[in-house]
Every structure is written in structure tokens, then in C-alpha cells.
């Protein structure tokens, strides 16, 4: 492992205990994130990408349980920290998060300011409300919110989605975290607003030298904001590498298919390719590669044993039985 890694996730397994059964949402995912780097976790719905984000800040829903693995933040396994240490030392100050639905991230009964001042008081130890307030205004200005004073005193239902998402970013960053997890932060927004927020995140990353984990289902968004991309399918990591490599020269059959599916505004094709079949049920255990039923190249081994992760290039990893044989096609 590289010494500059700010975050290293090793063999993470997460289960949800639901009414219908145990959902094995994440099955042995490893991540390595260097300081200042941004990593996109890309996957379709149900691939487990958001669960990983929540696990890193230890904010899984009550029925979500980390079954195995470690999450090393600056070489400290945060899964072993107590709740108190987590709150005091990690959350907000080191790692923070922005969620998909900006309206649901804020408690409807409190103004943006109340939440923000609580974060500032708890993490920066600013007990003086005046000073905390000023810091908050500064943060709101930083995310380019017009009229920050009004935003401070607004209830969530009084602000639009775009403004709320900016406010959420401001709150998340108000205690100067080093790592920001952005969990589909633009999915619920319109394209023009999405563009604004993406621009904002890129700018903030640079200005605050943030490391970032960006979770999205949209490869276009991934291409825009990230250095590196990790493709997730059914809780399993399929491919990881630099964004350019993944997007222009993918190895895993799933990644390739995925890219072919997407209709592009930039060019018109006569017919879209698609992946037949549908996602596997996460409640039933899989012995082989989870993509096997839908894969054109599947062989016997694919249904029997799970593929190992192979390094196929510089910081380029693929989990596919065919990867080496095909030699990086």
C-alpha cells in the first residue's frame, strides 16, 4: 500500500438485515485513495456504492452491519473506534459526506444555520455563537450561495434543491474535512444545476485540497470530476483504474457493455447495445462471478469460482477470469 494513501478499505463486507432476508450489499470491496485524489465509484442501482460511502462515515442505517473488513483512515481502522471517538475525531473534521437527496439530508424542523452552528461548535469547538455564525456565513459564501444570511435562517422547505445541495456541501465542509464523500450529489438536480454543482465541487477540491470519493451511476459525471473510477456490480468491484483508461480502454466485459449502452449527446449511433437480463438477487449467495448470467464471454469457470482481482496495468485492477488471458484488450 502506498504511504500517501489517506483511505484504504480492505475486503469490506456489509449486510442489511431486512424483513425479506439478509441482503449482502457489499462483498469484499477494497479501495485505495491517495491524498488529494478523487475516486468515482460507479455502478447501477443496487450495486452497493452508496453503502460503502455510508460505511466510511459509519452512518449506516440501523439494520446495516459491517460483517467483515477494515476501513483505514490514515492507517487507523475507524471501524474499531468508539462512537465517541468517531464523533469527536473523524466525522466532519476528517471525513464528511454529502447525500443524494438534499431535501432529506436536512431536518425539516431546523434552519440550515442551526445545523451548521452545531457542526461548527462540535467539530471546531467554536462555542461563541457570533464567531460560529460568521464562519458559517463564510462557508455559505464559499459555495456561492447568494444571500447567505437568508439561507442561514431558512428552513429546508424554503430553499430549492440546488441551493440545499450547496448548503449541504457548505455544512459538510464547515469543519475542514480532508476527505469528502459525495453520494450522488447531483442526481436529483437538473442538468444546468448539476453542471453548477459539479463545477463547484471541482473548484472546492482544488482550493481546499480535498480528497474525494464520488459516488454516481452516471459515467458522464464520473468522467468529469474524477481522477480514478471504480466500477461496482452487485456489491463486487469489477474494475478500477484511472478515469481515462477506464472510459477509453475498459477491460472488464461489464464496463465495456456499460459504456456501449449509453446514448451520447456527442454522437448518434443507429442502435444502442444493451446488457440482457437483470441484476442478481443480493439475498441469494453467488458462487461464481455475479455477472456470469449476463456476460457474453462467460465460460465454465465463471459460474464456479469468483474471479480474483488482477492488476492489469498501472493502478488498474480488474476482477475477471478472462482478464489475463485476454491480455488487456
Amino acid at each position: 500500500m502506498s504511504g500517501t494513501a489517506i483511505l484504504a478499505v480492505n475486503d469490506l463486507h456489509i449486510d442489511y438485515y431486512t424483513f425479506e432476508g439478509v441482503v449482502r450489499a457489499v462483498r469484499g470491496v477494497s479501495i485505495e485513495l491517495c491524498r488529494g485524489e478523487s475516486l468515482c465509484i460507479v455502478g447501477e442501482s443496487g450495486s452497493g456504492k452508496s453503502t460503502i460511502g455510508l460505511a466510511i462515515v459509519r452512518a449506516l442505517p440501523p439494520n446495516g452491519i459491517v460483517a467483515r473488513g477494515e476501513i483505514l483512515y490514515n492507517n487507523v481502522d475507524i471501524l474499531r473506534l468508539s462512537e465517541e471517538e468517531m464523533s469527536k475525531r473523524i466525522r466532519g473534521k476528517e471525513i464528511s459526506i454529502v447525500f443524494q437527496d438534499p431535501a432529506a439530508t436536512f431536518n425539516p424542523l431546523f434552519t440550515i444555520g442551526e445545523v451548521m452552528l452545531d457542526v461548527i461548535a462540535a467539530q471546531l469547538g467554536v462555542r461563541d455563537r457570533r464567531r460560529a455564525y460568521e464562519h458559517g456565513i463564510k462557508m455559505l459564501k464559499l459555495v456561492e450561495l447568494p444571500d447567505p444570511e437568508r439561507v442561514m435562517n431558512s428552513y429546508p422547505h424554503e430553499l430549492s434543491g440546488g441551493m440545499l445541495q450547496r448548503a449541504a456541501i457548505a455544512v459538510a465542509l464547515s469543519a475542514n474535512p480532508k476527505l469528502l464523500i459525495a453520494d450522488e450529489p447531483t442526481t436529483m438536480l437538473d442538468v444546468t444545476i448539476q453542471a453548477q454543482v459539479l463545477d463547484l465541487l471541482k473548484r472546492l477540491r482544488k482550493e481546499l485540497s480535498l480528497s474525494m470519493i464520488f459516488i454516481t451511476h452516471n459515467l458522464g459525471v464520473a468522467a468529469e470530476v474524477c481522477d480514478r473510477i471504480m466500477v461496482l456490480y452487485a456489491g463486487t468491484m469489477f474494475e478500477e483504474g484511472y478515469a481515462d483508461t477506464i472510459l477509453t480502454n475498459p477491460i472488464h466485459p461489464y464496463t465495456r457493455k456499460l459504456l456501449e449502452c449509453i446514448p451520447r449527446a456527442s454522437r448518434r449511433v443507429s442502435r444502442l447495445r444493451y446488457i440482457p437480463g437483470s441484476l442478481p438477487d443480493l439475498k441469494t449467495p453467488v458462487s461464481g462471478c455475479p455477472f456470469e448470467p449476463r456476460c457474453d464471454y462467460a465460460t465454465k469457470i465463471c459460474s464456479v469460482s469468483p474471479p480474483l482481482v488482477r492488476v492489469v496495468g498501472h493502478r488498474h485492477r480488474v476482477a475477471c477470469h478472462l482478464a489475463q488471458e485476454k491480455g488487456g484488450v
Binding site: 431486512t18 424483513f19 425479506e20
Partner: protein, 292 residues
């Protein structure tokens, strides 16, 4: 509530001893309600067709498990028969209220407009009374009697169902599948009965079934206040209230009928609890089921 939900309800009931208890209690209640005249050890005591000077006010004993009353009658038989009256009241009240409520709620909810507004304002007028108070006013006006009690409770109860149906219909009627039905060209009546009603009625019907416990409770309250079922009907609330007159020396007269009420209503409430947890998807998603 489709097959899936029913399946998960059954699953939950199986796994939860409290829900199981609820089912057992409710089933027992219904069985006793139907069969009590045949299974009561002293049927003529149960109906009040007999009296016995020798056995007045005996405390509970193996022969008379709940003791005897001031007429020397077996209280156990009377309490068993009481289940029948509670069952009649519960079913009667709930079904009448349900019919009125569904008609009003569906009409107001789907038709909307002026008629709908008038219907809902009417409903609101009834809802402005505390629960049971309106039933008291109706019962006082109509006079005593099993039928009047049912009518009084039903008249005070339908607005709750009307509102529930109204809310359900409103949440359903703007769903895309209703739009789709309109686009297909179905008539409003067909849409109402084929698409809106089947999709809004289940929670209401379940609620109604579970409300039978409350009906037992409220009917008992009316009896206690002297405006419910008249004696010599062995209705539980009436038995409690009559037992009160002798409670200093014969505690069992009030105690056992009251226990019967509590147990029955607990049964219905346990079921209600189960259904609520199953039907509220937000609670369900966080439901922790271990060892599955």
C-alpha cells in the same frame, strides 16, 4: 396489500410471539362468540332464564370458575355468552360504519368538487367531537338497546373511515395508473371501482377489522354509563357496571367481565400492531429480523 404483503404478515406473525398471541385471542373470541350458547356450562344462567337462592354470590370455585351473581347464576356462563354480544356489536358497528365511510370517502375523494367538499365538511363536523362523545349523544337520543348501541357507535364512527378512505383515494387517484386508465378511456365510475377502490380499500378494511377491539371497548363504556345494552343481556360492560353495586363483597362480579374485555381488546391491538409494522414501509425497511 397484495399477496406479498400477506405473506410477509404471516411471516411476521409466525416469528413474533405477541402477534401469535393476538391471533389466538381473536380466534378464541370469535369461536366463543359463535359457540357460547352451546358450550356454556349453565346456558339458562347465561341467558338469565334462571335464578337460584342457594348459590347467591359464591366466590370463584371449581364449580363456578368466575363465581356467581346475586341471582345465584354462574358468571362464567354469562361471560362466555357476553362474547357473543360483543362480537355482534363489534361486527355490526364496524361494518355499518365501514359502508357509510367508504361511500362518503370514495365519493368525496374521487369526485371531488362541490359535492365532495360538502361531504368532507360534514365529515369534519362529526370529527370535531371527541371519540365516544358523539356516540353518547346518539345513544342518549335513541335510547337503550342492542340495535341502538350499534347505530349510535356506527354513526359516530363512520367519519373516521370516511376520512381514511378519502386520504387513501386522494393518494391513489393521482397515481399514473389512474391517468393511464383515463387515457385508455375508461368511464369515471369504472375507474373508481376497478382502479381506485381496490387500491385504497385494503388498509381501511384491515383497520376496520382491527377496530373491532375498540368497538368492544366503547360499547362497554356506553353500557357502563347506562346508555348501552340493557340488562339482562350479559354484555361485558354491563356486567362490570352491575358488579360495581356489589364490588365490596363480590369483587369477581366486575373483575372477570373486565378481564374478558381487556383480553379481547389486547388481542385485537396486538394484531393491529403487527399490521401497522408490516404496512408502514418506512418502519419495515428498518425492521431488524435476526436469526433468519
Amino acid at each position: 396489500m397484495g399477496l406479498n404483503e400477506i405473506a410477509s404478515v404471516l411471516k411476521l406473525i409466525k416469528s413474533n410471539p405477541l402477534s401469535m398471541l393476538g391471533i389466538i385471542i381473536v380466534a378464541t373470541f370469535i369461536v366463543i362468540g359463535v359457540a357460547s350458547p352451546y358450550i356454556a356450562p349453565y346456558p339458562s344462567d347465561a341467558w338469565g332464564y334462571s335464578y337460584n337462592l342457594e348459590t347467591r354470590l359464591l366466590p370463584p370455585s371449581p364449580r363456578y370458575p368466575f363465581g356467581t351473581d346475586e341471582m345465584g347464576r354462574d358468571l362464567f356462563s354469562r361471560v362466555l355468552l357476553g362474547a357473543r354480544f360483543s362480537l355482534i356489536i363489534a361486527v355490526g358497528v364496524v361494518s355499518i360504519a365501514l359502508v357509510i365511510g367508504v361511500v362518503v370517502g370514495l365519493t368525496a375523494g374521487y369526485m371531488g368538487g362541490f359535492a365532495g367538499m360538502v361531504l368532507m365538511r360534514l365529515t369534519d363536523m362529526f370529527l370535531a367531537f371527541p371519540p365516544l362523545l358523539l356516540a353518547i349523544a346518539f345513544a342518549a337520543t335513541l335510547g337503550r338497546g342492542l340495535f341502538n348501541v350499534i347505530i349510535a357507535l356506527a354513526l359516530s364512527w363512520w367519519p373516521w373511515y370516511a376520512r381514511l378512505v378519502y386520504i387513501q383515494v386522494n393518494s391513489v387517484k393521482n397515481l399514473p395508473f389512474i391517468d393511464a386508465a383515463r387515457i385508455i378511456g375508461l368511464s369515471p365510475v369504472k375507474i373508481m371501482f376497478k382502479h381506485v377502490l381496490p387500491n385504497s380499500i385494503t388498509p381501511v378494511v384491515i383497520q376496520a377489522a382491527l377496530d373491532m377491539g375498540s368497538a368492544v371497548l366503547e360499547a362497554a363504556g356506553l353500557s357502563f354509563l347506562g346508555i348501552g345494552v340493557p340488562p339482562p343481556t350479559p354484555e361485558w360492560g354491563l356486567l362490570v357496571s352491575q358488579g360495581w353495586a356489589l364490588i365490596n363483597s363480590a369483587w369477581w362480579l366486575s373483575f372477570f367481565p373486565g378481564i374478558a374485555i381487556v383480553v379481547t381488546v389486547v388481542g385485537f391491538n396486538l394484531l393491529a400492531d403487527t399490521f401497522q409494522e408490516v404496512m408502514d414501509p418506512r418502519l419495515r425497511s428498518t425492521m431488524v429480523m435476526r436469526g433468519m
